[in-house]
C-alpha cells in the first residue's frame, strides 16, 4: 500500500468549503480503482463505472446518504440501490472509501470465491442493499423500500441509480406507476443518462427521448442535471424532494467513460477492459494512483 492509498482512507465527510473539489478527487479515485479492478479481473463494465462515479461520490461521500458503515444494517439508514448492477466495481470502490470494508479487499475483485462478484451480492458484502445485475430490478425494490418507510412511519429515504438503456425494461415503468400512485416523495430515481447501452447508442437502439417528459408523464418531479457537476449534484440531492407528494427523478447527463479520453463516449467501452498501458494513461489523466 502506498502513501496515496492511505491518504484516501479518510472516512470523514467532505468539509463544507472545497467540498466539490474534494468530491471530484474522490470520484476520480473511484474511477481509477474501478478500472484497476476491471483490469485485474479481465472483466467488467468500465464505461458505466466511469459515468456513475461522480454521482456515487456525492451520494456516499458528500453526506447525502445517511449511513453508518459500522452498522451496515442500521434500520434507519437511507437505502441506495444500484440498479445498474454491472457497475459494481464503482460501487465497491465507493463503499470501501466510505468505510464499509478495507480498500485492500478490492484487490480480490472477481477472484475465485471473492466477496466481489461481477454483480453485487448483499449477503456477501456490507453496504450492498440489493442483488442486482439483471436490469429493471432496482426501481421496484426501491419502491418497496419507500413503502416500508411509510408503513413504519420512519423518515429514511430510498435512492436508486439506473442506467438509461436499462429503462427499456418494462418493470421500471410498472414500478414508476406504483411510486406515483402512492405519492412516494421519499423515493429518488437517478438516471445515469450516458446515452450508450451495450451494443450502441441508446437512440440508435430504442429511442429513449423524450426521457424527461416520459418520467413527468409517469407522475415524477423531474430535473435534468449535469451528472459530473459535484456542486450541482450536492445542491440538488441535498434538497429533496423536488416536489412534496411526488417521487423525484433526476436525469443525470453523463459521459460514458468520463475522465479517460480513450474511453469517453465510445460504445465499445461499455465492457471494455483496460490494458496495463491504458491504466497508466488513465492514472495520468485522472491524477490518481490506487497503488496496485
Amino acid at each position: 500500500m502506498n502513501a496515496g492509498m492511505s491518504e484516501l482512507r479518510i472516512n470523514e465527510l467532505a468539509p463544507a468549503l472545497e467540498r466539490a473539489e474534494w468530491l471530484k478527487q474522490k470520484a476520480n479515485w473511484i474511477r481509477m480503482s474501478a478500472m484497476t479492478m476491471t483490469h485485474h479481473a479481465h472483466l467488467g463494465h468500465t464505461g458505466g463505472d466511469l459515468s456513475a462515479a461522480d454521482i456515487l461520490a456525492v451520494l456516499y461521500l458528500g453526506g447525502i446518504l445517511h449511513l453508518d458503515p459500522s452498522q451496515p444494517l442500521w434500520p434507519q439508514r437511507d437505502r441506495f440501490i444500484l440498479s445498474k448492477g454491472h457497475c459494481s466495481a464503482a460501487l465497491y470502490s465507493t463503499l470501501a472509501l466510505r468505510g464499509f470494508f478495507p480498500i485492500d479487499d478490492l484487490k480480490t475483485h472477481m477472484d475465485p470465491l471473492s466477496m466481489f462478484n461481477g454483480h453485487p451480492d448483499r449477503n456477501k458484502l456490507p453496504g450492498v442493499e440489493a442483488n442486482t445485475g439483471p436490469l429493471g430490478h432496482g426501481l421496484p425494490i426501491a419502491v418497496g423500500a419507500a413503502l416500508a418507510a411509510r408503513m413504519r412511519k420512519e423518515s429514511w429515504r430510498a435512492f436508486v441509480l439506473t442506467g438509461d438503456g436499462e429503462l427499456q425494461e418494462g418493470s421500471n415503468w410498472e414500478a414508476a406507476m406504483t411510486a406515483q400512485h402512492y405519492g412516494l416523495d421519499s423515493l429518488t430515481v437517478i438516471v445515469d443518462r450516458n446515452m450508450i447501452q451495450q451494443g450502441d447508442f441508446t437512440e440508435n437502439t430504442i429511442r429513449m427521448e423524450p426521457l424527461a417528459e416520459r418520467w413527468r408523464a409517469f407522475g415524477f418531479a423531474v430535473e435534468e442535471i449535469d451528472g459530473h457537476d459535484h456542486a450541482a449534484l450536492l445542491q440538488r440531492l441535498g434538497n429533496l424532494p423536488i416536489e412534496p407528494g411526488k417521487p423525484t427523478c433526476l436525469i443525470a447527463h453523463t459521459i460514458k467513460g468520463k475522465g479517460v479520453s480513450f474511453a469517453e463516449n465510445k460504445p465499445a467501452w461499455h465492457h471494455g477492459v483496460p490494458t496495463r498501458e491504458q491504466l497508466v494513461m488513465a492514472a495520468k489523466e485522472l491524477g490518481v494512483e490506487v497503488g496496485w
Binding site: 434500520p75 437505502r79 451480492d121 448483499r122 449477503n123 442493499e129 440489493a130 442483488n131 442486482t132 445485475g133 439483471p134 429493471g136 430490478h137 426501481l139 421496484p140 425494490i141 426501491a142 419502491v143 418497496g144 423500500a145 419507500a146 413503502l147 416500508a148 418507510a149 411509510r150 408503513m151 413504519r152 430510498a158 418494462g170 418493470s171 410498472e174 414500478a175 406507476m177 406504483t178 400512485h181 402512492y182
Partner: protein, 327 residues
C-alpha cells in the same frame, strides 16, 4: 419414519365439510397482521381473488395494490423486506410465478429475502379458462431455486398453521394456496412443522405421497385399497422443499413402492423430487401421478383432475399396478 408427524385421520363425518383454503389463509393473515405490525400484503389487482378485501379494510396502510404488474410486485416485496416489513405477495399462481420468475430467482431466492409469495388458485383451479390460467409448472420452477422453501397446504387447518409458521421463517417462501373445495384431513390441534412429512395413515404394503388437493384423494384411495386388503401408508408432503428425505427413504424400505400425486406437471414437481431422493438413496418402484407433458383440455378443475387420473380411482390403480408388479 422418525421425522414424520402423526396426525390422526379425522372421521368421515368431519370430511363432509369442504373448504376453500384461501379463506383460512386470509383470516390467518389478518390475525398475523394484528399480532405483528411488520406484516403487510402486496397484490396485483387481485383483491378479491386473493380474498384480501377484509385485510384491506382493516389494515389499509399495510396493503399495497401495485396493479397488474407482477414483476414489480415481487421487487416491491424485496424492498418491503429490506425495510423491515414481512410482506405477503399474493396473486394468482399462474401470473405470480411465471411472469415474475426472474424476480423470484434474483430478488427473493438469490437475495434470501424474507418475502412470502402466496400463489392463489394453483394447478387447474381456473379449469375452463384454460392453460394460460393454469399453474401446473410452478412447483418445478420454484423447487429448483436454491434458498427457496415451498409449502402446499392440504386443507384449511394446515393452511392456517403454515401461515402462522411463515411469520418466523427466515428466507423466501412459496405458499401454494388452493381454491378447490377440499375436505379436512388434519385434526384441529395439528401443528405444522416445516420439512416434516405428515403421516396421515399408517400402512405397510404401499406408500401414497400427495400434496394439496390430492391429499384427500390419496386418503380415499387408501380406503379403497384397504377394502382390497392392501395396507397403504399416506404421507402429506406439504413441505415440497426442504423435502423430508427420511420419510421417503423409510417408505421405500418398508413398503413395496411409492405413488406420488399432485395437481401439477408430473415432470419436476413432487414426483420428481421424490424420485431424486430414491434414485440416490434407495431405488424403489414408483408411479408419478400428475399431468404428463401436455397442456390441459377444456374442463372444470374437477373434470380435469379425473381426466388426468388425479383421483382416488387413479391413485388406487397406480398403487395396484405397483403392488402386483412387486408382489
Amino acid at each position: 419414519m422418525n421425522s414424520a408427524q402423526v396426525s390422526s385421520v379425522v372421521s368421515k363425518g368431519a370430511q363432509a365439510t369442504l373448504v376453500d383454503c384461501r379463506d383460512a389463509y386470509a383470516s390467518a393473515l389478518e390475525e398475523m397482521a394484528a399480532q405483528d405490525v411488520r406484516v403487510c400484503a402486496v397484490v396485483n389487482d387481485s383483491v378479491s381473488s386473493t380474498k384480501l378485501k377484509s385485510f384491506k379494510a382493516k389494515f389499509p396502510d399495510r396493503f399495497v395494490n401495485v396493479g397488474i404488474a407482477e414483476q414489480n410486485m415481487v421487487g416491491v416485496g424485496n424492498g418491503l423486506a429490506n425495510g423491515g416489513m414481512i410482506p405477503y405477495v399474493c396473486g394468482a399462481s399462474c401470473f405470480l410465478t411465471a411472469r415474475a420468475m426472474e424476480q423470484i430467482k434474483v430478488d427473493l431466492a438469490y437475495s434470501k429475502a424474507n418475502v412470502r409469495i402466496c400463489g392463489m388458485s394453483p394447478g387447474m383451479a381456473y379449469g375452463q379458462l384454460g392453460p394460460t390460467h393454469h399453474a401446473i409448472e410452478d412447483i418445478a420452477w420454484t423447487r429448483i431455486l436454491p434458498n427457496m422453501t415451498i409449502v402446499v397446504p392440504a386443507d384449511a387447518i394446515e393452511t392456517a398453521a403454515a401461515m402462522q409458521y411463515s411469520l418466523v421463517h427466515q428466507g423466501p417462501m412459496y405458499l401454494r394456496i388452493s381454491r378447490m373445495m377440499v375436505p379436512k384431513v388434519h385434526d384441529d390441534n395439528y401443528e405444522f412443522k416445516l420439512g416434516n412429512a405428515v403421516l396421515l395413515s399408517e400402512g405397510t404394503d404401499i406408500t401414497l405421497i400427495a400434496i394439496g388437493v390430492l391429499v384427500g384423494r390419496a386418503l380415499e384411495a387408501a380406503r379403497l385399497l384397504a377394502a382390497r386388503g392392501i395396507s397403504a401408508r399416506v404421507l402429506n408432503m406439504s413441505t415440497v422443499k426442504p423435502l423430508d428425505r427420511e420419510a421417503i427413504i423409510d417408505a421405500a424400505r418398508s413398503t413395496r413402492g411409492i405413488v406420488t400425486a399432485e395437481e401439477s406437471l408430473a415432470a419436476g414437481g413432487l414426483g420428481g423430487a421424490v424420485a431424486e431422493v430414491l434414485a440416490e438413496e434407495h431405488p424403489a418402484p414408483m408411479r408419478i401421478l400428475g399431468i404428463k407433458d401436455v397442456f390441459a383440455p377444456t374442463g372444470t378443475e374437477e373434470f380435469l383432475l379425473d381426466h388426468f387420473g388425479l383421483n382416488a380411482a387413479g391413485i388406487e390403480r397406480a398403487a395396484l399396478e405397483l403392488f402386483e408388479n412387486e408382489g
